[in-house]
């Protein structure tokens, strides 16, 4: 009976998770094509260093260490999950204990120690967020759901770890009664403190509560991910693999513009020629998420809202409206909204809303200095600047919405080849001045 429940629970959990992963893939595919299949060796190296090795986290050592405890514990615990699956399906108890012997004791002990560290790390993270009120974790774009999401993730982790120790602790005392202690590093002393003297029946129930509680939390957490910023634990890997590898200062070249500019500069071009039908895109720049590339959209799913970008942003730190983190959160919210709408009403359906306007304002976009601090800071190589520039391109090239002073600058460049009103003939004056 228990095996049947376990089987149904496991299948439905993975089924629902797969269903949501498909939605995520569909949403990312709403973006424009972009080729990031070159330089495979560099891409693997970037992923290993930045995602697996967490290289960029360590520019801030304290949160990096706390994060590392949770990360390492999460990764290593997956090994134990194999046993839980085997036990769950076959009805065995600690399937690998007998065959692995001392190594098994070592592995579980290792997981226990990491779990304790992760518990401490999680409590510290809760404290930083809610008691120390770290500025970057308490900004206005986090009001409401994002803050609840963050706390919920941390509470999930605490519950998950508590179940592990309920299971191992009760089991320890129970096995101790039979004269063969498990001897795991933490539960061999924590178990007796918590459960010594309890009846064998109670201990068995407690062990079962721990076991079931643990696996139910794992499945809950897994299915919570697609709705949460915590999705970064998976997305960090593809997202760093598909990183921009060009110099940060290199902005994308708009090939659609090149065709038109070449036509303008060509004295032999026929001004009445019909425009090439295949070349021109539907619009210049980006108004909505469907005008961004799939990588911009993957970036949005990879963001865990840590706010390092925003805390390094010169515009944000001097009180301007722009927050690179908000740009990423808005992109994700809008993508999910539009994706759901299209799944319901057909892929050509329009809901009359857009990323620019309904989510991101012009004032935010014009505050950016394109300094790349946000790109540099991001621990999973998200590029908010590329979205900001594409939205600016739409404003300028499609809507002609340019701040007045910039109109002057642009006119000067077009008229006299400099952002200021100086004639080209004055370019060499410096050579003759004292």
């Amino acid at each position: 009976m228990q095996q049947l429940i376990f089987g149904v629970l496991t299948l439905s959990s993975f089924g629902f998770f797969a269903f949501n992963l498909r939605k995520i893939a569909q949403n990312i595919h709403m973006g424009l094509p972009l080729d990031r299949t070159d330089r495979k060796a560099d891409r693997w190296r970037t992923m290993l260093l930045v995602a697996l090795g967490q290289k960029k986290m360590f520019t801030r050592p304290i949160p990096a260490l706390l994060h590392l405890t949770i990360y390492a514990s999460f990764v290593i615990t997956q090994i134990e999950l194999i046993e839980i699956l085997v036990d769950g399906i076959s009805g065995s108890h600690r399937f690998f204990q007998d065959s692995l012997g001392g190594f098994y004791t070592f592995m579980i002990s290792f997981i226990e120690v990491l779990s304790v560290l992760a518990f401490i790390g999680t409590v510290a993270f809760l404290a930083r967020r809610n008691m120390l009120k770290l500025p970057r974790l308490n900004m206005k774009e986090l009001a409401g759901w994002p803050t609840q999401d963050a706390n919920l993730i941390l509470v999930f982790e605490l519950i998950l770890i508590s179940f592990i120790f309920t299971m191992n602790g009760a089991d320890e005392v129970l096995q101790g009664y039979a004269g063969n202690s498990n001897g795991f590093a933490i539960s061999s002393w924590l178990g007796p403190i918590l459960f010594e003297g309890k009846s064998a029946h109670t201990l068995h129930v407690l062990e079962q509560i721990g076991w079931w509680g643990h696996i139910i939390m794992v499945y809950t957490f897994m299915n919570y991910l697609p709705y949460s910023k915590h999705l970064h634990i998976f997305m960090a890997f593809p997202n760093t693999y598909f990183s921009k590898l060009e110099p940060k200062g290199q902005f994308t070249n708009m090939a659609s513009v090149t065709a038109e500019v070449k036509l303008m500069l060509d004295p032999n071009a026929d001004p009445y020629a019909a425009p090439a039908t295949d070349a021109a895109p539907s619009r210049f720049g980006a108004k909505d998420v469907t005008d961004l590339t799939w990588k911009n959209l993957m970036d949005a799913y990879s963001c865990t809202e840590c706010g390092r970008c925003t805390s390094a942003c010169p515009a944000n730190t001097t009180g301007k409206l722009l927050s690179p983190r908000k740009i990423m959160m808005d992109t994700r919210d809008r993508m999910v909204e539009l994706g759901d709408y299209k799944r319901k009403n057909g892929s050509d359906a329009e809901d009359g809303k857009s990323l620019l306007g309904n989510y991101i304002t012009e004032e935010e976009l014009w505050a950016c200095t394109s300094c790349n601090a946000c790109v540099q800071e991001c621990p999973v190589n998200i590029d908010p600047l590329s979205i900001i520039i594409d939205l600016r391109r739409f404003l300028v090239m499609e809507e002609s919405k340019v701040p007045t002073e910039l109109t002057g600058m642009l006119t000067n460049i077009e008229n006299n080849g400099a952002p200021w009103q100086f004639a080209p003939t004055e370019r060499m004056n410096w050579a003759n001045e004292e």
Binding site: T59, E246, P247, K248, G249, Q250, F251, N253, M254, V257, T258, E260, V261, K262, M264, L265, P314, A315, T318, G319, K320, L321, L322, W366, A367, C368, T369, S370, C371, N372, A373, V375, Q376, I389, R392, R393, F394, V396, M397, E405, L406, G408, M409, L410, I413, E414, G417, A418, P419, W420, F422, P424, T425, E426, R427, M428, N429, W430, A431, E433
Partner: protein
């Protein structure tokens, strides 16, 4: 010492070709403060007998501020015209004292048909010193002085050039003091992304004031930069704090030209 500078057109007419083109940039050509940086660099080039030329009246904006402002049309008009000119002169190598021109010429022109070896002037000066073509006079100009370097975003983060300007400061026999935010963490001066040409959006502080505070905190005598726009922003910041007497804002080229007695 009077400076010697020839244009590309002039050289072509007499059948010569320079080893390197000095891309002066709009700031270096028209901004009074930046013109001094241009002259300092030319003094160094003259002193080291570098066979260089400028484009003079034929030079035109690289299009950087247009591109950052989102106007790809204006950018590409400029880029394609400049590339035609540069390719016509068969230019192979370019040096510039402006990180914005540097970034655009180096990274954004190749896709439009203009591929050149582009270096920042701090890299060229470093090379001149390392190859023994330029020696700094032992005049103690900067002895005991504290110099801090403000990383221009388009040189540092955008193109990973952090060491060339710092090595030059160390060669000045001065103490290099770092700001709390430096190198990859360097704070922008506030001019990038076409902000130089507009008022800042509404906020509670100007970015250049925030950055100048970082610099003043180091108690440096000199704020060194490698960008004419950073220079303007930091100079304004120093004026804001009325520290013009104690803190000078200077380009690396000016520091080197001074130290070499040029």
């Amino acid at each position: 010492m009077s400076i010697q500078v020839r244009t590309m057109a002039d050289m072509m007419a007499s059948g010569e070709s320079p080893d390197i083109l000095f891309w002066v940039g709009c700031a270096g050509s028209f901004d009074d403060r930046a013109k001094k940086i241009t002259k300092a660099l030319v003094k160094i080039l003259n002193h080291c007998k570098v066979n260089f030329a400028v484009l003079g009246a034929e030079e035109s904006c690289t299009g950087d501020p247009a591109k950052r402002a989102g106007n790809e049309f204006t950018f590409q008009m400029q880029a394609l015209m400049n590339i035609e000119l540069l390719n016509g002169y068969e230019v192979k190598k370019i040096v510039t004292a402006c990180p914005h021109c540097f970034n655009t010429l180096k990274n954004e022109y190749p896709e439009l048909g203009g591929t050149y070896e582009v270096i920042h002037h701090t890299q060229l000066i470093q090379d001149l010193i390392n190859t023994g073509k330029l020696t700094l006079a032992d005049n103690g100009t900067f002895k005991g002085k504290k110099i801090t370097f403000h990383d221009p975003c388009y040189l540092g983060r955008a193109n990973d050039v952090y060491e060339a300007p710092r090595e030059l400061i160390v060669k000045l026999d001065a103490a290099l003091v770092e700001m709390k935010r430096c190198k990859t963490n360097g704070l922008c001066c506030g001019a990038g992304g076409a902000q130089m040409f507009k008022e800042a959006e509404k906020g509670n502080k100007e970015i250049n004031i925030e950055r100048t505070e970082d610099a003043i905190e180091t108690s440096a005598n000199i704020i060194a930069t490698g960008c004419p726009f950073c220079n303007t922003m930091m100079t304004d910041g120093v004026k804001h704090f009325e520290k013009e007497e104690d803190v000078k804002v200077m380009d690396i080229a000016e520091l080197i030209a001074n130290a070499a007695d040029l």
